[in-house]
């Protein structure tokens, strides 16, 4: 009887989860592979024809291959921002955990402020404009680095505290201090947290919509999220193409999720609990 009730409950939970969480995704994929006429019905019907390749080609060719350029821009943005975040934040997190003093409380304060304070948009544009970086990819890269810094520093600081100090001391006896100590001895040991930082921040940067919207407007250097946003108004009748675009943009995070599910989840919960 109890077992029966248990499996009944299980069934209800599974069915509910499927309806609520899987139906929207199936809808995306189904609409993406329909032809234009059927996709306009926006229902859950099975596709009558499967112009998958044709839809794909049309989306990619749209507006002079803007999507390909957007993927290139988003890749450069994500790789560069994440690389800088890893180097800068591991260094800062290391010293922050190891070296006590007044500086530490100042830095801790700044890190927490970075987590809480919403960025001031127009003044940031003003600063970038002054530096000649407004509407440029390097400018947006710096913005992403600055806005994801607190989270990454916190993750690194927490992980460094699990690296025994005796190791530093042994290295120092061999004459390693400063840069040598960090990059030769400590940084290789931080690999697990580095992978976590890479995964979580690259998903965040790739999916970011607000900052490209403000700091990198214009078609020629749009990111994938911006093209999707612009397609929304352009393809108001070609739903199959709009949803094909959505599917294409969802693939990179899906791959990250399939291969590194555990790492991502642990990184996000650690960030949440520590922050």
């Amino acid at each position: 009887m109890r077992a029966l009730r248990r499996s009944g409950l299980e069934l209800v939970a599974v069915v509910l989860a499927v309806v609520i969480f899987v139906v929207p995704f199936s809808f995306m994929v189904l609409t993406a592979v329909k032809d234009e006429v059927q996709s306009a019905e926006l229902d859950f019907g099975w596709p009558t024809s499967w112009p998958v390749v044709q839809n794909l080609i049309e989306v990619i060719e749209a507006r002079d291959y803007v999507l390909l350029r957007a993927f290139l821009n988003s890749t450069i943005l994500t790789v560069a921002a994440v690389a800088l975040l890893v180097v800068f934040c591991s260094m800062a997190g290391f010293v922050l955990q190891r070296r006590a003093g007044r500086m530490r409380s100042v830095v801790n304060f700044l890190v927490l402020s970075g987590l809480i304070i919403p960025p001031a948009i127009v003044p940031t544009i003003w600063v970038l404009q002054t530096l000649g970086l407004f509407k440029t990819l390097p400018g947006l890269i710096l913005v992403e680095v600055a806005f994801h810094m607190s989270y990454s520093v916190l993750l690194y600081r927490a992980f460094v505290s699990a690296v025994p100090r005796e190791l530093d001391e042994a290295a120092m006896i061999d004459g390693c201090t400063g840069f040598k100590l960090f990059f030769k001895v400590i940084f290789p040991l931080l690999r697990p947290v580095t992978i976590t930082v890479i995964l979580t921040t690259s998903v965040a940067v790739f999916n970011d919509f607000v900052n490209p919207l403000y700091f990198l407007p214009g078609d020629e250097n749009a990111t994938v999220q911006l093209t999707l946003y612009n397609f929304q108004s352009q393809y108001s009748t070609q739903w199959n193409l709009l949803f094909m675009d959505i599917v294409l943009i969802t693939i990179p995070p899906l791959l990250a999720f399939i291969f590194f599910n555990r790492k991502i989840v642990s990184g996000m919960t650690a960030g949440a609990v520590k922050g």
Binding site: E10, A17, V18, F21, P24, F27, M28, E41, L42, V87, M91, A92, F94, V95, R98, R99, A100, G101, V107, F109, L112, I116, I117, P118, A120, I121, V122, P123, T124, V127, L128, L131, L142, V143, V145, F147, M149, L154, R157, A158, S161, D168, E169, M172, G178, L181, N207, F209, L228, Y229, I246, I249, T250, F257, I264, S266, A272, V273, K274, G275
Partner: protein, 315 residues
Amino acid sequence: MTSSKPGTVTSSEPPTVAAGRRAPARKGKGGRGNPYPYLFYVPAGIVYTVVFLVPTVMAFYFSMTRWTLFDSTFVGLENFTDFFAEQNLRIGFQNTLIYAVTTSALKVVLGMALGVVLTSRLKMRGLLRSVVFFPVLVSTVAVGITFSVLLKPDTGLVNKALALVGISGPDWLGDANTALLSVALVDVWKGVGLATVIYIAGMMSIPRDYYQAVAVDGGSSWHRFRYVTLPLSWPATNSVIILSFIGGLRSFDLIWTMTRGGPGFTSDVIASIIYKQYQAGFFGLSTAGNVILFVVVTALVVPLTRFLSAREVSA
């Protein structure tokens, strides 16, 4: 005045996060330089200062100006009085609070419920966890577009499904009464996975002994939840509230892709007003919105953090 407020966060934080060892920084060989040079702060510090700190501080000045990016005229508090005098702008202030409270309350309740279900001995636990978590990783724009289609008044799947059981659903995003809440529900759909995994992590760390003790006393599953799971997952609740509250106050992308603040201005939040004023070229007013958001966030989040961590100690 404003910079002293976040300071209270730091003072309440060190016990949990900054409990580094107090060993004195040792001199390197021959007393030359510290093995942990402050130089390591420099690259991060430059980017943070230039791109985040300077704009944040300058925002206070520019919010009191009429501003074209190239020159600015000081107008005192005019932007702020405008902000609160105009009905369309004031509503954004209310909506921001409604949105943040609704989303974080629902994320706490549903995240905890899902956490309980997904830590029980379900066979399909792994799969369900993945299914619930995946939306967290999907782009907000994609989620926004998909749900604005699903929520369409006549053709949308949601209303078609409701019609099957005899309910005629409203025009979710086109009706001033439901627009903001509909977006909030989609926000919960997208974000509850993160709350759930935080709860799962918290619940997994509860020692088994407590549950055994309840079983020995003949307690039901309700007792297990009420007297063990609920109080001992307080740290998880704490982080879920803080995270989703900050996120809710700052949220922009979902609202913008689903309603653009409409119909009219009824689902505008502070962040979308900042964008609208920026687009319209009112940079000073836009920045005033930013300063208001800053004040709202710090004035609510800092006391909330203190209150929650005080409860955590006593719980």
